[in-house]
Symmetry: C2
Subunit: 598 residues, 2 copies
């Protein structure tokens, strides 16, 4: 069985020491979760993840979900009980508003704990994850009646939520959507159509399932301008607000997938199911987009989570497995061979994962804090700057952390050699589970397009200029500090590459939009490297400050940060130049072959 | 169901037009398979792969192998029949010596056809692949009696072979091997021990299974110097040489694996099983190594094969799937959306795979031809040069083509979006199957160590110097040719990076062996890029020559080569600089953390 230990000390380092969490105590909710309380929350989340959720991971993969002839779905053994404990612990509504039954704590704290839970079982955490997304949508776009009717039950976790976008012929291109909504005349609609890839579409862990469904009201405009969002509960609510009559919707089948077997991925059939409009008519796409930032941040976190848990298991194996002798002389003379952690190429894998995980954690928490500012600050310009940051960084968090998360799950699997390829050790599962995060919630190619096509130029490039300024100033401020040189030099070089790439895009993307498309994925990853490099530079700065102050008995903790950060600069950052070179070659060759030539 | 069309025209281009196959007709076997005959062989191999083998691929994944209580194993539906047709077509012994029942044709032709077969079903082709490896071992190290007793039946395919190396506690480090061999006094031995991950260890497709087993003769030296190789048939041969009494060996279980479900991966238990020494006592490791070059070339080919078949399926989907509109204006106005092949980021994926596949094919065939020269030429210096090449390139073919093959299977899956993650389209299977090739036959980290630790410095660096000279001269010869500039400039830049990396290794690897280990994987991939870049430069040169000569009605074929090669130079070759930068940072930071810090 896989092991996992939640990196609580690292989370606290990032929140308290690097990101200055205490600075935010003026925002609602923060003073309820700082200092010892913050530590206690993280420790409690860690306990649940390690002791309750982790044991369900392998069994979830092996058993999967089972659909019965009546359309009902059974989740794997142990899911129900673990989910119950998750809900009872108040984790579902940790960051939800107090007036709707939540605890109103910072989204950053939710994000910190979510990492642990998702590391422990990605498939299981999708049920609450989708519910949290649906809660956010109802809170933002719902009427007071809708909020009262649905949110408290969902915060409690006794009802769960889903998001119904995809249809067989349309995923990315929602303009092609065919599911239709016919007004009943009483404010409700009859929803008819087929949706696919609906996560948590049907299962046995909740008393009701609140489906949010994109559909086209009869007579609405074609394309994305004619899409509306509906609340379509599995069981219609009776006069008292309790689940009553069964709605005419059902799970037609569940998908055989590469991974996340514990998630019930459904084909959902709506046959004149009764639904209510959520938000404005034809405003469905906008409604979707308002929840997308945090949903995508959540998926980015899945990439990080799988990288972290896979890394921890690779470390344990590398310390335990005896094979060969160190190139620099025997390290464990009492044993027949040295543990493989002595071999540089194994170290390369471990350090690569570690350096990414620690920076990725800082990157997601930084962005989650910005989300808190964007939603909770009373200061307009703070809110705007934070919102700019969120919008800009969302596709990067999602695209980069999931691409790398998968890559690192594969790397961790490789440390196990042949033992990684058999299912017994669970390394294959991490790879298979991590794979989905690159695809759903907008495939990573779409994230890259969102970045170059929408985010980069938004408001005259305000967000990206602010980021360049911040990173540039950091490098400048620390230029004279010799101890910081290994970090700031590499970061500055990366920033230069990123600025050159941005310039290239401005000059060539207008001329020929295919140039922007051709550059997009390389640009996304180049941006990601600079953002992660900036996290490392900040963490190094903090560590050096702590060491200079005596480090409070944690010398090795901070020393290790400095080493790991240097590794990132030496071994990961050089990739920025390759991204710049590739994207600067433009679209011409890429697009030169006629389609028939393929 | 996945599609597949064997790239026969491309194979012929590489063999005949680029590599000058006709120059080798002085070697035994070549004149029997050139011109029209070569074309006919490839076409027949293609037919078998497409029509007979491909249909077994999905079912093999879904059904897997089943072990029964008596230790017997049933292969998936259709495997037996497809294997029978493979054997009846003479494919098992295509390159085996005529005097042992083979056809004596070039190994390069075998390699060309093997690509098609393995694209069609990797798991199925492992059964003949292992048999061919065992045939080679017996032919090289066996007595005349052993050759006569085993080889003809194996060439016919009615008996198959296996290779038993790994034990639970030892994979890479064979010195730890515990399986023991006790002499019976009559020239035979009693073999006892447990072997794991034994591909094709037990199955229902052959009348007998010839296990080659590494074991330690009682009293032999410790470590790798005390390992011997044994022939241990499942059914002992009777006086007439027919399978008779059951040997005391059995399949204890079969592994649940991430992929290659159609391959029976067995735990094999030997309980005083009767075996005969193959080769010299304590010469087992050397015996293994002599077959390793071709076995590793075969695994490299698996990487290429999965990349190719995954690419073809991604192309078909990209032409068919309608989603969104081209950034440069509507391309299919009669449809509700454009096929996704119009989108640059989809093109990027397709072109990356295509550029790799075509160069990878040239690289494997080039190396296979060198194997023919090494084994068949009458000229000592030709043989030596070819053998140098084989030794040097083997870890690169294995490591680079399998790492990239997997990466491209993932890339092809991504083109399908959510449809790639469900099992229905078979894209997940390509990813899961391709994954094993990075691990077995020496994990890719071991390939990298083999390259920097053994191959690079062998014979005073003779092999690597010859390669540098050949590539350097090619660049020099074509320096004045402006049409070749896009290819030679990028290639020369890559060669410079590779030479700088080699120099760095020579200066720093001696000083501290960890520097060599820390550099190994980056060096392997840097070398691979230059080798593949060289293939592209040669293909471009050939294509330009053909176009200048009128191209015989194939203008677009050669034009497409030039575009694809340019793409490789623009978008893939820039990575050489990143590899150089990374490896030049040395081992210090990588090895700085104490093991307890992980």
């Amino acid at each position: 069985m896989p092991i996992y230990q939640a990196p609580v000390r690292d989370t606290l380092f990032v929140l308290n020491e690097v990101l200055g969490y205490e600075r935010y105590t003026n925002l609602p909710g923060f003073s309820d979760a700082s200092g010892d309380v913050l530590e206690a929350i993280l420790a409690e989340g860690a306990r649940l993840a390690e002791n309750v959720i982790l044991p369900t991971n392998r069994v979830g993969d092996m058993e999967g979900c089972v659909r019965h002839d009546d359309g009902s779905v059974t989740t794997p053994k142990g899911f129900k009980e673990a989910y119950r404990q998750y809900c009872e612990g108040g984790w579902m509504g940790l960051a939800a508003p107090v007036e709707h039954g939540g605890q109103g704590l910072p989204y950053a704290v939710h994000t910190a704990v979510a990492e642990y839970m998702v590391s422990a079982n990605l498939a299981l955490l999708m049920y609450p994850g989708l519910t949290q997304g649906a809660i956010a949508a109802i809170l933002t776009h719902g009427t007071d009646e809708q909020k009262t009717a649905f949110v408290p039950k969902m915060v409690e976790g006794v009802w769960t939520g889903t998001m119904n976008l995809t249809e067989p012929h349309c995923g990315t291109d929602l303009g092609l959507l065919r599911t239709k909504a016919v007004p009943n005349g009483d404010g409700t609609y009859k929803i008819s159509g087929q949706k696919i890839f609906i996560s948590a579409g049907e299962h046995d862990m909740a008393d009701n399932i609140v489906h949010l469904v994109l559909a086209r009201i009869e007579g609405a405009p074609e394309g994305v301008k004619g899409i509306s969002l509906f609340i379509v509960p599995k069981l219609k609510l009776d006069a008292a607000g309790n689940p009553g009559e069964r709605n005419t919707l059902s799970c037609g089948s569940i998908e055989e997938k590469m991974g996340i077997h514990g998630n019930s991925t459904c084909v959902m059939n709506y046959d004149e199911a009764e639904g209510a409009l959520l938000g404005e008519p034809n405003g469905g796409l906008r409604a979707m987009f308002t929840m997308m930032n945090e949903a995508r941040l959540g998926v980015g976190l899945q990439g990080l989570s799988q990288s972290e848990v896979a890394y921890q298991n690779a470390v344990a194996y590398a310390k335990d497995r005896l094979q060969g002798r160190s190139l620099t002389g025997v390290k464990a003379p009492e044993k027949k061979a040295d543990p493989i952690i002595v071999h540089p190429d194994i170290r390369r894998s471990l350090m690569t994962m570690r350096a990414f995980n620690e920076a990725g954690r800082a990157f997601t928490l930084w962005t989650a804090l910005k989300s808190d500012v964007a939603h909770r600050s009373g200061d307009d310009s703070d809110r705007q700057a934070a919102d700019d940051h969120m919008s800009l960084m969302t596709p990067i968090v999602k695209g980069v952390l999931t691409d790398k998360g998968f890559e690192h799950a594969v790397m961790a699997q490789q440390v196990f050699g042949g033992h990684g390829y058999i299912e017994e050790h669970g390394m294959s599962q991490f790879v298979r589970d991590a794979r989905i995060a690159m695809i759903y919630e907008g495939a990573n190619g779409i994230q890259a397009l969102d970045l170059v096509g929408r985010k980069l130029g938004a408001n005259g490039g305000r967000a990206v200029q602010a980021f360049f300024k911040e990173v540039g100033e950091f490098c400048e401020e620390n230029r004279a500090d010799e101890k910081m040189a290994p970090y700031t030099k590499a970061l500055k070089k990366g920033l230069n590459d990123l600025q050159a790439a941005t310039m290239w895009l401005m000059q060539n993307g207008m001329k020929n939009p295919d140039n922007a498309g051709a550059a997009s994925t390389d640009f996304l990853h180049l941006f990601g490297l600079v953002a992660l490099g900036y996290m490392w530079a900040q963490m190094a700065k903090t560590a050096q400050g702590k060491l200079a102050d005596g480090a409070n008995g944690s010398t090795s903790f901070y020393d290790n940060k400095l080493v790991t950060g240097r590794y990132f600069m030496e071994r990961v950052m050089p990739e920025t130049a390759a991204h710049l070179a590739r994207l600067s070659s433009g679209a011409e060759t890429m697009m030169a072959l006629p389609a028939e030539a393929f």
